[in-house]
């Protein structure tokens, strides 16, 4: 477990968090290399299915980040995203996903240091939690035939 390096995917908006991460770079703020940024125009564009896909392909943690309320480049995309996250998180919690592995955050174009901090804290947290295989391992299980499943149920 000590060698475990968490794999983190970050879904970020182009205008605030992507630029904030750029600022962390120009400011030479060092942070954990475990994160991979995927760029979106706006948090409003981030499809909840992509978060599931990330967990399926083996992400141990996810960061979703965009503009602070009232700062959205498109005026309201982040507000719509926030509602979706509330519903989606409620569902994942109910089904038993470990939503502690998903960090939702607002990072502005001026918050390079906050970005570095969000990444470091997420990496530390996931490192403590260990790899997330509850969901991705299901991919490796064989496909049960209907008969098998039915037998399992009646048994």
């Amino acid at each position: 477990m000590s060698n475990f390096e968490p794999k983190i995917i970050a879904f970020v908006c182009n205008w605030c968090t992507y630029a904030g991460a750029d600022l962390a770079g120009t400011s030479r703020i060092k942070y954990a290399p475990n994160v991979r940024i995927v760029r979106f125009p706006c948090t409003g564009r981030i499809d909840f299915m992509l978060l599931l896909k990330a967990l399926q392909t083996g992400a141990d943690g996810i960061i979703v980040s965009g503009c602070h309320p009232a700062d959205c480049h498109y005026t309201a995309g982040n507000y719509h995203a926030r509602r979706r996250w509330i519903i989606f998180k409620s569902l994942l919690d109910f089904v038993g996903f470990d939503t502690g592995r998903i960090t939702f955050s607002w990072v502005s174009a001026a918050e390079g240091a906050k970005w570095a901090q969000i990444v470091n804290e997420t990496v530390d947290k996931i490192r403590d939690l260990g790899p997330y295989t509850d969901y991705s391992n299901l991919n490796k299980l064989g496909v049960g035939t209907i008969t098998e499943v039915l037998n399992a149920r009646t048994a």
Partner: protein
């Protein structure tokens, strides 16, 4: 099959010092679909760019990933380079190896590994990029100017003089705005009307300007270059085509006691009226709220009887007209707080406590006193006058934190005008700071103090009350160690705060532009876009954005006019093509959109419309969503909301982002497409 070229930049030591670029290039060469992969010291240099161009031709590349600095830095550079080599600029993507990798991590295998994965993700994306063309939209070369004050007038004249049509609408019966109410202007003391009225006439006579007074904007649809404005023309009750402006109706009107807006309530006017003698147009309107004919069911009718031209038309109705315009200049001006806003200064109860605007009318040769300074209560000339600057402004307790900007200067002007007219009189000014930034402004204030002997007292007035026919002004002089000051004044002038017009919030909403917490309209950027709004094609001019003096208003108006003229200099606008669209497919489905229209309200730009798909005979087959490419800004909020994934977006398409996410931690999903 894709043939992707990958170009890894060392950025000197910036990337190369931390990331093993050679290894990244080697790894990238093995990704499915990568036809060429190379690393180089400086990709953005001329030889670097030529390397990309040559490789595109030599290896017949169908897409390019440049792994270098942030795309926010050099994406335009490399997109231009690939287009020079003959492939569509949108087939080039950048992996951010500098800001997001080498600059934030230590030299380590894990950093190189991250660089490889960032490249892998972008390779997967670019395989699915589509060639895109900038969107072209036609431009209606007519500007709408809202407001006929000095800012609106300047903007309208500048646009009209550059050869474009202008529609100006003004809500009151005459253009001229607040400037027409002013007596003389700082810092030159030239007469306001003398410099303004020629401009007003020019507007009325300009062949490129159509003027609608007594008119209001009721709605604005559309987008930059293609707006549709709905304008309400209020019934004037007088046919201006027939009326010759003789004024007989005004002379005969029996309703004479209406507080006169032009004189800031200090005089009265009739129900049929021209706001002021130099009004443009100089023809009267009937104020239906006060006219007996309208309030008492057809009684009176005197004006119709005296009008020899038969121009009076009581049956006129409000009319709504729709006009296509390509740009809008919002120049709706501002208002000021009334004396009733100040409990400590008598809540507006004392007749001789007046606002700065009222003083302007007293000092004006065309005002109710013909320019003599007489106090409203008894018409006596005040011998001791007090001016209070920052009445309301810079006072968080009153909810107005900002500086109203014009008061320091006009208060100095008022004190000076008073001293010029009442030589033996005493003038005092209470001020917080003197803000006289501007050409010849400081000199002007010094003149008031030094040559005209105006008594400037630094301190605030805590109370005003009446005693024995005098107004007792109690304040402190903070320069004299907070020494209490008490002045027995005959008249007090409050430089009340400049505020947003009533109804500006609703106007901003109908224009879809932003406004600040004080309801002043918001510029797109406080420094670099001070005349644009965040809605493309709508500009701001004058005090509707924040309180401004005349030179600032005029400068901003000319700035707005140039923005409009630049927009009108082309027949078509080109826009970024990274926008959303609703899919289309063959019959019988036509589109997978089912027309639930849940997406309509998520669009911040009102870009989603209903579209009817009809058969050849015009029968409705299906109603689906349609995204107006002129309005869509490409946020993609509708894309993620649509249940059936019927909406997609160029540049961040379902297949692109899906492939990026799937590729990241999962080698198996890589395939060449």
């Amino acid at each position: 099959m894709s043939r992707i070229g990958v170009f890894i930049c060392h950025c000197g030591e910036n990337i190369g010092g931390t990331v093993d670029c050679e290894k990244v290039a080697e790894t990238a060469a093995k990704y499915p679909g990568v036809a060429y992969s190379v690393d180089y010291k400086y990709m953005c240099s001329d030889p670097g760019q030529n390397m990309i161009k040559d490789a595109i031709k030599e290896h017949k590349l169908t897409g390019v990933v440049v792994a270098a600095c942030s795309p926010r830095m050099h994406e335009p550079t490399f997109r231009k380079a690939v287009s020079e080599a003959g492939i569509n600029p949108f087939l080039c993507e950048m992996a951010n190896l500098r800001e997001h990798c080498s600059w934030v991590h230590l030299k380590d295998d894990s950093t190189t590994e991250k660089a490889e994965e960032l490249v892998k993700v972008l390779v997967e994306k670019v395989k699915r990029n589509q060639p895109l063309e900038p969107i072209k939209v036609p431009v209606t070369k007519t500007a709408l100017v809202l407001g006929g004050g000095i800012a609106g007038i300047q903007a309208a004249l500048d646009i009209a003089n550059s050869g474009h049509k202008v529609i100006m609408i003004e809500k009151s019966p005459s253009i001229g705005g607040h400037m027409s109410q002013l007596s003389e202007t700082f810092p030159t003391l030239d007469c306001s009307q003398c410099i303004l009225t020629p401009r007003m006439v020019e507007v009325a006579q300009h062949p490129n300007i159509t003027l609608y007074t007594y008119a209001e904007l009721v709605g604005l649809d559309g987008f930059i270059g293609n707006f549709q404005a709905s304008i309400k023309l209020k019934a004037k009750s007088i046919d201006h085509d027939i009326c010759n402006g003789c004024g007989d109706c005004i002379a005969k009107c029996p309703i004479k006691k209406i507080p006169d807006e032009f004189n800031a309530g200090l005089g009265t006017r009739t129900a049929v009226y021209v706001p002021f003698p130099q009004a443009v147009p100089n023809k009267p309107v009937i104020d239906r709220e006060n006219c007996t004919y309208f309030t008492r069911d057809g009684k009176c009718g005197l004006c119709a009887k005296v009008c020899t031209k038969g121009a009076i038309d009581y049956s006129q109705k409000d009319e709504i007209i729709t006009i296509d315009v390509g740009a809008v200049v919002v120049a709706t001006g501002f208002d000021i707080k009334g004396t009733d806003f100040f409990p400590e200064y008598g809540y507006g109860r004392y007749k001789d406590v007046i606002t700065g605007l009222q003083f302007e009318r007293l000092a004006s040769a065309s005002g109710p006193t013909l320019g003599e300074i007489k106090r409203p209560s008894d018409g006596k000339v005040p011998q001791n006058i007090v001016f209070i600057a920052c009445a309301g402004s810079r006072d968080p307790a009153k909810g107005i934190e900002y500086c109203s900007k014009i008061c320091c200067m006009y208060t100095a002007k008022h004190a000076m005008l008073y001293k010029h007219k009442v030589h033996q009189g005493k003038a005092s000014v209470f001020y917080m700071d003197i803000r006289a930034g501007g050409k010849m402004y400081e000199e002007f204030v010094r003149r008031a103090i030094e040559e005209d002997d105006v008594n400037y007292i630094r301190g605030r007035v805590s109370r005003i009350y009446e005693k024995n026919g005098k107004l007792i002004v109690k304040g402190v002089d903070t320069l004299l160690d907070a020494y209490p000051v008490e002045i027995e004044a005959d008249m007090v002038v409050l430089a009340t705060a400049g505020i947003a017009n009533e109804g500006s919030e609703e106007l901003a909403q109908s224009l879809h532009i932003s406004y600040d917490q004080h309801n002043f309209f918001a510029e797109a950027h406080p420094k670099l876009k001070p005349v644009e709004t965040n809605t493309a094609g709508i500009m701001l001019a004058g005090a509707c954005q924040s309180p401004k003096d005349i030179p600032d208003s005029v400068s901003q108006a000319s700035g707005a006019a140039v923005k409009v003229a630049a927009l009108f200099s082309k027949d078509e606008l080109t826009r970024d093509p990274l926008i959303a669209y609703v899919n289309r497919c063959g019959p019988p489905t036509y589109s997978t959109c089912v027309g639930c229209f849940l997406c309509v309200s998520v669009c911040p730009y009102l870009a989603i419309e209903k579209e009817q798909i009809k058969d050849r005979n015009g029968n409705l087959i299906k109603e689906v969503a349609k995204i107006n490419p002129g309005l869509c800004q490409g946020c993609g909020t509708c894309v993620a909301l649509c249940r059936s994934k019927s909406i997609d977006i160029y540049g961040y398409s379902h297949s692109q982002v899906f492939a990026e996410v799937m590729a990241l931690f999962n080698e198996r999903s890589l395939e060449n497409v």
